[in-house]
Amino acid sequence: MRISANIPVRGWRDRIFSAAAFFFVSVFIVFVLGLILTDVFYVDKKAVVTVLTSRFILHALWMSIWTSFVTTFIALLFAVPMGYALSRFRFPGRILAEAVVDLPIVFPPLVAGLTLLVFFSQTEVGRWIQDDLGLEFVFQPKGIVLCQFVAAASFAIRSAKTAFDDVDKRYENVALTLGCTQWGSFRRVSLPLARNGIIAGGILTWARAFGLFGPLMIFVGSFRGRTEVLSTTIFLEQSVGNLEVALAIALLLILVALIAVTAIRLVGGSAMVKL
């Protein structure tokens, strides 16, 4: 196999340096693939058939897919304006605002579930939203999206902010002198230039939402055919001793994640710039 480098590799020192860097890449990939292969060899045909024919598991798969995509969409809806505002505007309390945005990345996901449960069941505002407005989240499919959003949206916001930080302000200035409004320069210059960073944030958000488990168990539970997603199904199957089935579901989860992440990267990378 021939490896082409973006930097010229000359002499034995350069070779040792690139070999050392490549060593860590290899170790990591072999380790992860090894773990997946362990699952593959452990799972038998019967477990695979069970997974592919079980109505509840397929429903959980569908729930995982749609909720994670809806969450990603909503997160990006927040992330783009928030990332831009945090990147471009200076306002009192900006540092505090950024810390709050980063908070869900830092605290354990389980806390998100607990906090949401307490908010909707123990506070006046939460009960008003649930009972009077009729927006029920606790133990409801809508709650899955809310839970995923709280746990994962920070990744999209943080990535969008970094992406807008990387867009030189001078491009926007030039666009303003060329006849654009603030909105026009954002839409035609900043947004296309920040696109890759925003897509990367979307991928991270989707991955976090798709694999979320702990807070979902607390906030929406895992009711068969209703609030069950793949990650909670794995937990339920292994807790009743169906280890092969649990691992077969895990493989399904990995496969879907791999396809989705690759597809998003391909679509995002080849998207044409539209004026």
Binding site: R170, Y171, N173, L176, T177, L178, C180
Partner: protein, 349 residues
């Protein structure tokens, strides 16, 4: 055409202080100053990218101080051009036309004028510095602005391309009758394009005038040094002279004659090209304002030879190659520097 009236703008510890400049219609005006003097900020204030804290900006008599950049009809080429990297050359040039909602997006005339028609389908990535500069210029000119603002437009270019681009800028400005404000820290650039210039230092406007005025009659030591005059000395008047006659001043151990009635302490400036350097042996002892010195260093600067002289005062002179060759031919390090009375300029204190 452009009238900046007592503009004040501050950012961090920097402040542009009560800056007033008048620029006539169709004039090629250059704003000179060292890095950090506020040139770019002034340009950004003119095109509306920075909101001034006090003062007024008028264009064609109209107060545009609070007008958005897009409504000022100003073409702006920033430093390093800021071409949109996600768009092709053609898309960059038509960007402003689309933004203004113009149906007509024919850019061939502008592209031909700048010689970039063959680049239209190219991406920005592969362009050379000169090509990028012309694309940025086309992007600004295609909107047919009345005013063109150029922020260090040739600083990233090599010497040959810089001269070509300067000639091209000058031609375009004349052909289109554009009022142009060009920002630079380079004197050669100023001489190759500008009608008039201003010198800015730490947010203060030091002087405005023709380049010859800045060169010959600087109003401060800073302007004199910026205009590359190294011979600046403190002198004291020893003889005020009678009415309509010249004065005498003491400079180190020597006495010089200067024009007009003067008194007290003075700051004198002598341009290096105004010093006549001759071999010491060729001096016949006749004449005023002659300084004996030793030639300590010389450097060929292309169009002239820069020589450093060490005598009662240290002097720098610019000699023609022929004069310097004559000096070398005579193997003389002892020289005399002669100063014409009219070439000794008194700097205002």
């Amino acid at each position: 055409m452009i009238r900046a009236e007592e503009i004040t703008f501050s950012i961090g510890t920097f402040e542009l202080r009560r800056l007033s400049i008048d620029i006539a219609e169709g004039e090629y005006f250059i704003l000179l100053g060292p890095p950090g003097s506020g040139k770019t900020i002034f340009l950004e204030c003119l095109c509306g990218l920075k909101k001034i804290q006090s003062g007024r900006i008028r264009i064609d008599g109209r107060n545009v101080t609070n007008l958005e950049p897009r409504r000022r009809n100003i073409g702006y080429v920033p430093q390093d051009y800021a071409l949109f990297p996600h768009l092709s050359v053609e898309q960059n040039i038509t960007f402003g036309l689309h933004a203004h909602g113009y149906e007509e997006t024919n850019i061939t005339e502008t592209a031909d004028m700048l010689g970039i028609r063959h680049l239209l389908s190219r991406s920005i990535d592969g362009l050379s510095g000169g090509e990028k500069q012309r694309v940025a210029l086309a992007r600004a000119l295609v909107l047919k602005p009345k005013i063109l603002l150029l922020d260090e437009p040739v600083c990233a270019l090599d010497e040959v391309t810089r001269q070509q681009v300067c000639s091209q800028l000058s031609d375009i400005q004349r052909r289109l009758g554009l009022t142009t404000v060009h920002v630079s820290h380079n004197l050669e650039e100023a001489f190759s394009v500008a009608d008039r210039a201003a010198i800015l230092h730490q947010g203060f406007l030091q002087q405005v005038g023709t380049l010859d005025e800045l060169l010959r009659k600087p109003k401060s030591e800073f302007v004199a040094r910026f205009m590359r005059c190294e011979n600046i000395f403190c002198a004291e008047v020893t003889d005020r002279g009678a009415r309509d006659s010249d004065s005498r001043v003491k400079l180190a151990d020597i006495e010089l004659q200067i024009a007009g009635r003067q008194s007290g302490k003075l700051m004198l400036m002598i341009r290096p090209e105004d010093l006549l350097v001759r071999p010491g042996s060729a001096y016949n002892g006749i004449g005023e304002n002659v300084i004996h010195a030793a030639l300590v260093r010389s450097r060929d600067c292309g169009g002239y030879v820069r020589v450093e002289l060490d005598g009662p005062v240290k002097l720098v002179a610019h000699m023609t190659h022929a004069a310097f060759a004559e000096l070398q031919r005579m193997h003389q390090s002892d020289v005399v520097a002669e100063l014409d009375l009219k070439n000794i300029h008194i700097l205002p204190q």
